[in-house]
């Protein structure tokens, strides 16, 4: 096949997919702004996405904070910089690891289940049935999921991940590496800036939006039975993770590039 034709086809396919996604996102957002609102579904989603993700998010943060403290202590000791441990842990967790790891874990949990659920509803015609019952699937299914994830990521999950992550570092530092507890906490508090917290929460909200958008988009456009739903689920998780890592860089650039 002609080389140029291949490049053209790939570019065209990419633009088409981006355009479709853009239209989908725009439609979803326009439906969030206009009534009717389905508060019952919203609360249900906030519960499943936020509350039920807490255990796995908490555990991830705890062990990451602990491992981070060990690494920095050992690495720092090579040039007598062990005392920087609390600072590096808190900045590393709040700015970077808390939101990103939480985002990736929630992408695996939430994007996948959204894509599978909405995808199954699509291939079994439940979404069509919903339209014939004068209920817009964008309002009933998609808007509540996107709003719930975009709110729960910053205001529940990432806050918890940040706090528990720092605590993981604290436990190892004080319990194993001989740091003084009061001193550790005051150094942590002194070095943490409000800007770090804003950055953390901004990332969380952006990731939450992409996680739910990908889950809903791939589910809504899935076709062709069980296999199609499987493909949609995989695509949702992979694309959500890619968008998280990409947007993480962009948000970091906006907040901290000098």
């Amino acid at each position: 096949m002609n080389f140029l034709a291949v490049i053209g086809r790939i570019t065209f396919g990419f633009l088409q997919a981006t355009g479709r996604l853009g239209v989908f996102a725009g439609t979803a957002i326009s439906h969030m702004a206009a009534p009717p609102f389905y508060f019952r579904s919203l609360l249900q989603q906030m519960m499943t996405i936020g509350y039920y993700s807490l255990p796995v998010v908490g555990l991830t943060a705890l062990f990451t904070g602990a491992a981070l403290a060990l690494n920095i202590y050992e690495g720092g000791s090579r040039f007598n910089a062990e005392s920087a441990l609390p600072t590096i842990v808190v900045i590393g967790i709040v700015r970077e690891l808390g939101p990103v790891l939480c985002g990736l874990i929630v992408a695996g949990r939430v994007s996948a289940s959204m894509a599978a659920e909405i995808g199954t509803m699509r291939v079994t015609e439940q979404i069509d049935a919903m339209s014939t019952l004068s209920t817009d699937p964008f309002k009933y299914l998609i808007a509540p999921r996107i709003v719930a994830t975009t709110l729960m990521m910053p205001f529940m999950l990432v806050i918890v991940a940040d706090v528990i992550g720092v605590m993981g570092g604290f436990l190892i530092a004080t319990g194993k590496l001989g740091f003084n507890a009061g001193n550790y906490m005051s150094v942590t508090m002194d070095f943490l800036e409000i800007k770090d917290i804003y950055a953390s929460l901004t990332k969380a909200a952006v990731f939450g939006f992409f996680i739910s958008l990908m889950g809903c988009y791939h589910g809504y456009h899935s076709r062709g039975g069980a296999q199609g739903v499987g493909i949609a689920t995989t695509n949702a998780v992979v694309s959500a993770c890619m968008l998280i890592l990409l947007s993480n860089y962009l948000v970091t650039e906006i907040f901290f590039a000098t």
């Binding site: 389905y38 659920e117 069509d128 049935a129 339209s131 014939t132 019952l133 004068s134």
Partner: protein, 258 residues
């Protein structure tokens, strides 16, 4: 009866990619009439219904409901039109995350037209009208047999008191007795509510029971239509072959012979 057809299709054309499914469909359904469409598997019967409901967008042609052109309608008008319709899907398409009673009154609940307690009573009443006992109300759709699912689908389609009801293969996959029960229910509901009905079926006993008028679709066109009683002497070789279920005739099934 008035002269404006309840539904009027003119030159309806729909293709998926290069594959033409509906070539040019012309069909008028008068108010209070029960029209049955027959035709082979894959001839585009379900696609026709989905075009009328606005779930699929035809490439060209006109669809008028109560004399009002629905193609290219905005979101608001589309919703107003959709409220006139109820549909029983080929695979029932019940919402599997909701119990039966919430399925039946989904439209009412989502539109906020009924409180949950009232809705439950309405659901039980509708279930009774399709011959299901109140204890079914709390089961999940997955716990029902195929025939029961069809009946719940029927109850859901009539719960919002539509003016027009579509039945997509209401009896396929059911034993002859259950099929007859469903046919009776349809006739009874349609007569009692005075609605306009459009039914798709392969089942000649359904046709004889339900239809006022019959139309046959073949290769994306309506090739014959007329009153039910004319069907046995239609003088149309395609119709003859179909109603007698013969393999030999003008209709060639796309089956590869070894």
């Amino acid at each position: 009866m008035t002269d404006t057809p309840k539904i009027s299709l003119k030159g309806l054309h729909k293709q998926f990619g290069p594959k033409i499914v509906l070539d040019s469909i012309d069909l008028d359904i008068m108010p209070g009439e029960s029209m049955v469409i027959i035709g082979g598997s894959g001839s585009g019967k379900s696609v026709t219904l989905k075009c009328i409901l606005g779930l699929l967008h035809p490439q060209s042609g006109s669809i008028k409901v109560d004399g009002e052109e629905t193609i290219g309608m905005g979101r608001k008008d589309r919703k107003r039109i959709q409220e006139k319709f109820g549909m029983l899907f080929q695979g029932a398409a019940l919402f599997d995350s909701l119990p039966v009673w919430e399925n039946v009154t989904f439209g009412l609940l989502a539109a906020g037209k009924a409180k949950r307690r009232e809705a439950k009573e309405i659901a039980i009443e509708n279930l009774r009208s399709v011959g299901l006992s109140p204890d079914v109300a709390h089961l999940s759709p997955a716990e029902l047999s195929g025939g029961m699912q069809k009946r719940v689908g029927l109850a859901r389609a009539i719960a919002s008191k539509p003016e027009i009801i579509f039945f997509d293969e209401p009896t396929t996959g059911l034993d002859p007795i259950m099929a007859d029960v469903i046919n009776e229910l349809i006739v009874e509901r349609v007569k009692e509510m005075g609605v306009t009905a459009l039914t798709i079926t392969h089942d000649m006993s359904s046709v004889r029971k339900i239809a006022d008028k019959v139309a046959m679709i073949y290769k994306g066109n309506i090739i014959w239509s007329g009153p039910r009683n004319d069907i046995d002497n239609s003088g149309n070789a395609y119709v003859e072959q179909f109603i007698h279920g013969r393999a030999e005739g003008p209709i060639q099934m796309e089956v590869l012979k070894a």
